[in-house]
């Protein structure tokens, strides 16, 4: 992998018919590139959680993915309400997901903790009323 591979995805708001499609496409790409299975798994978990958060909380958003020889960087950005208390949101079990979302099996309060656990680097920039940008890096 000499060159950088770039992919961009739209993440529609509250649309579970396509939720996970961006993560699925990236996972397939990493399999094709021959990336180690444990790195693919960690990338898929972190990206899926960020993608789902954008669907549920962020009124949809965008995913920008860059893959180079030694790492993958995923930037998921939304123009949603932002995260009011990031420290609280990082705690396992804390969730602001409504009942309709919980009924589908989400809202365990594990999204951000899962991202932190499985990404090598996690950067979250959030501003109330403006949106959230999550940057996930996994080194191969």
């Amino acid at each position: 992998m000499g060159q950088v591979i770039i992919r961009d995805f739209e993440i529609p708001a509250n649309d579970f018919t396509v939720a996970g499609e961006a993560s699925s496409t990236v996972r397939k790409l990493l399999v094709q590139l021959g990336v180690a299975p444990d790195k693919i798994k960690r990338t898929a978990i972190a990206m899926y959680e960020a993608e789902i958060n954008a669907v549920i909380h962020g009124h949809g958003g965008k995913a920008h993915v860059e893959i180079s020889g030694d790492k993958i960087t995923i930037v998921i950005s939304d123009e949603g309400p932002g995260i009011e208390d990031l420290d609280l949101a990082m705690q396992e079990g804390y969730s602001t997901a409504p009942d309709s979302i919980r009924e589908m099996g989400f809202g365990a309060g594990m999204g951000l903790p899962n991202m932190k656990k499985h990404a090598d680097e996690l950067d979250i920039r959030t501003e109330k009323g403006k949106g959230t940008v999550v940057t996930i890096t996994v080194y191969f």
């Binding site: 939720a19 996970g20 899926y48 099996g105 989400f106 594990m110």
Partner: protein
């Protein structure tokens, strides 16, 4: 133990997905209805037992490369999930047993086969 052998032993029914994948070897069993837990814990080749039948189950099973999804207690699987599972080549099986019974019986048989 393959998916097909497990289906025959426990009387599981094929609800969606390609029959050609039934010869896949099962690597383990995971049972949970919280999507984030399943996403983090499911390993490639695992059976995932869950009462959820929505589209997200198909997405997570595909992303984690699970061997199949098993839906307990004859819970009806949403038609859009069946269509998506066929499209994504995700096996969905159905059973009249509870999730606890399925977990116990599957793990017992996998251990016996090892």
């Amino acid at each position: 133990m393959t998916i097909k052998e497990m289906m025959e032993t426990l009387g599981l029914r094929l609800a969606a997905g390609p029959e050609g994948m039934l010869d896949r070897e099962i690597t383990g069993v995971y049972c949970c209805d919280l999507i984030s837990h399943a996403m983090a814990k499911l390993d490639s080749g695992n059976v995932w037992i869950t009462v959820h039948t929505n589209l997200n189950v198909v997405a997570v099973a595909s992303l984690t490369d699970a061997a199949c999804v098993v839906v307990p207690e004859n819970i009806e699987i949403e038609e859009q999930s069946i269509n998506r599972a066929n499209e994504k080549q995700v096996l969905m099986l159905s059973s009249d047993k509870t999730a606890a019974e399925l977990s116990f019986e599957m793990i017992s048989r996998i251990r016996k086969a090892e």
